[in-house]
């Protein structure tokens, strides 16, 4: 039996949440974007009024101002968006436990199991959309279909606040004329290659011999065919089953260019503290430390090193990061952004070989100091206790390194392997 899959996509998510909280933004062009003072000057989301004027996600703030001079910029409040995303997921979870988030604002739901109680896909979609509008105060576009790819096409089909169903009856009329570029994994270069084959729409892609696509694109060719023809079988992952963490990192574009070792040391301490804290919170210690440096001409370098003992002590992470920094960077240009990452994560309690050159007592003390600082910050706020170096440059150290940026990016559709069932296609046809 066919599954019932919904894909729900919040319209202009960040902008919608801001508009809800500041009603004066309702009928003016506005965009959520980085703080130009802190030099993160790009648009993250614009509302529909601004979009109609030509403002696009990813534009620099000054570009947006050129196409739409009266636009209002609002700095992003990630924690608020995460909270609202959680509230929306609570609504989803009343309909199914198969909820796979795709970034903060999108999610797939497999409601096949609740259709006998709640009604068919369209009905559930209407109910969810209505409830989100009433209870959360923002609008969503929902796509309903029997596979994840078509459900996502459906949610992109009509915006804002719309529901589109691609059923077995209508998909040939409605989905097939859409451009092939609307499919997941059909980016600019794939689109160009398809165009050279004379394929521009999803219907044409679905009408192409999968063997030919396989010859040109390899495995991906079969997958694209499966996507276009509605044969994708990728399941919707159950709630709270994210793939295991592979590394913990943090990077930042600093409020001003870094020009000397002191500056770098200060920022590396901030980042290392945040990374070490997250490692400790999750019970990890990492054995590979990696840094990433980007100069003001936007050239970037990175380097990593395996260390003797897995660590989650901020001082140790900073020390290795600083060594790596001296190795890779020779100050030909000031630095614009910098990052620290801890990988090869192991459980914190893993036994380790004591080194001749490192005193275990000293490590214990450093760890205890870190934990004490965590506790103080938990109770009195991030700035309640700080390292002395932070007072060398208050402007630089006011940077907030604790933003939860690690959970924002959509995970890859194929993160858990290719579950599309595309390999079977050739056998079917043979």
């Amino acid at each position: 039996m066919d599954r019932t899959i919904l894909h729900s996509d919040c319209n202009c998510y960040y902008a919608s949440v801001e508009m809800l909280h500041q009603p004066k933004l309702w009928d003016i062009p506005m965009a959520v974007g980085g703080d130009p003072e802190a030099r993160h000057g790009i648009i993250l989301t614009a509302n529909y009024i601004a979009k109609r004027r030509g403002v696009k996600t990813g534009m620099a703030l000054w570009q947006a101002r050129q196409v739409c001079p009266e636009i209002t910029f609002v700095p992003p409040r990630m924690d608020l968006y995460i909270k609202f995303s959680r509230m929306i997921r609570e609504i989803y979870s009343e309909y199914t436990d198969l909820i796979e988030p795709f970034g903060l604002d999108e999610a797939w739901l497999d409601t096949s199991g609740s259709c006998s109680v709640k009604g068919d896909g369209m009905r559930i979609a209407k109910e969810i959309s209505g409830r989100i509008k009433k209870e959360i105060g923002i609008t969503v576009s929902v796509g309903v279909s029997w596979n994840k790819i078509y459900a996502k096409l459906g949610s992109d089909y009509k915006k804002p606040d719309a529901i589109t169903e691609f059923s077995r009856q209508n998909y040939r009329e409605k989905a097939f004329p859409l451009p092939a570029g609307d499919l997941l994994y059909v980016g600019r270069s794939t689109q160009r290659k398809l165009h050279n084959l004379g394929i521009t729409t999803i219907g044409e892609l679905a009408g192409t011999d999968p063997a030919l696509l396989q010859r040109i694109f390899g495995k991906v060719g079969l997958m694209l065919y499966a996507f276009a023809a509605g044969l994708d079988e990728t399941p919707v992952s159950p709630e709270h089953t994210e793939a295991p963490v592979k590394s913990i990192g943090n990077s930042t574009t600093t409020p001003r260019d870094l020009t000397c070792d002191e500056d770098v040391k200060l920022v590396l301490y901030l980042l290392s503290e945040s990374v070490a804290k997250r490692c400790r919170e999750n019970g990890f210690a990492g054995q590979v430390i990696e840094i990433y440096v980007r100069d003001n001409e936007l050239y970037s370098v990175g380097r990593q090193r395996k260390i003797a003992v897995p660590t989650n002590i901020s001082h140790e992470i900073e020390a290795v990061a600083m060594e790596l920094f001296h190795e890779v960077y020779h100050w030909h240009r000031p630095i614009r952004s910098i990052g620290v990452r801890v990988a090869d994560l192991k459980p914190e309690s893993i036994p380790w070989q004591i080194s001749l050159f490192q005193s275990p007592e000293q490590r214990e003390k450093l760890l205890a100091a870190d934990r004490a600082a965590d506790d103080i910050r938990r109770r009195f706020g991030f700035h309640a206790v700080q390292r002395g170096i932070m007072y060398c440059d208050r402007y630089l150290s006011s940077l907030n390194a604790s933003a939860d940026d690690h959970m924002i990016h959509p995970h890859s559709y194929l993160e858990r392997g290719n579950r599309t069932g595309a390999e079977k296609i050739l056998h079917l046809n043979v």
């Binding site: 809800l20 909280h21 500041q22 009603p23 004066k24 980085g34 703080d35 003072e37 802190a38 993160h40 790009i42 993250l44 700095p75 992003p76 409040r77 990630m78 924690d79 608020l80 909270k83 609202f84 509230m87 509008k133 009433k134 209870e135 959360i136 105060g137 923002i138 990192g249 943090n250 990077s251 930042t252 574009t253 409020p255 990433y292 952004s337 990052g339 009195f380 706020g381 991030f382 700035h383 309640a384 006011s398 940077l399 907030n400 390194a401 933003a403 940026d405 924002i408």
Partner: protein, 110 residues
């Protein structure tokens, strides 16, 4: 990576507020008024507001809670759990933002 780390001004005056307890509307919004609320947690885990204190310091008893539902308020700007309360014969909507803060929709002249 890192695009979302942004610079925050540190202005610590008086007791430090827990970050998550910061009001969600910082800009002036004439229709939203945060209020002091006295509430009771019942042993069943219910949260029942008993009285609220308006900006001018006057305290109003909540006579009855007619209904509780999750609701967004377009006018005040925010979303949370809405308590439809009767206060001195008038119905008001008291919102709990789920971060320790309560707000009501303020009536303004315009």
């Amino acid at each position: 990576m890192g695009v979302y780390d942004y610079h925050r001004e540190i202005t610590v005056t008086g007791p430090v507020t827990l970050y998550e307890k910061m009001p969600e509307v910082t800009a002036d919004n004439p229709y939203k008024a945060y209020v002091d609320v006295t509430a009771r947690f019942t042993r069943d885990g219910e949260l029942v507001p008993l009285s609220l204190t308006w900006e001018d310091g006057r305290t109003y008893e909540i006579d009855r809670v007619r209904d509780v539902q999750r609701l967004a308020s377009r006018k005040a700007g925010g979303a949370g759990i809405c308590y439809f309360c009767t206060v001195r014969g008038q119905e008001i909507q008291l919102f709990y933002e789920m971060n320790g803060l309560w707000f009501v929709t303020r009536k303004t002249d315009d």
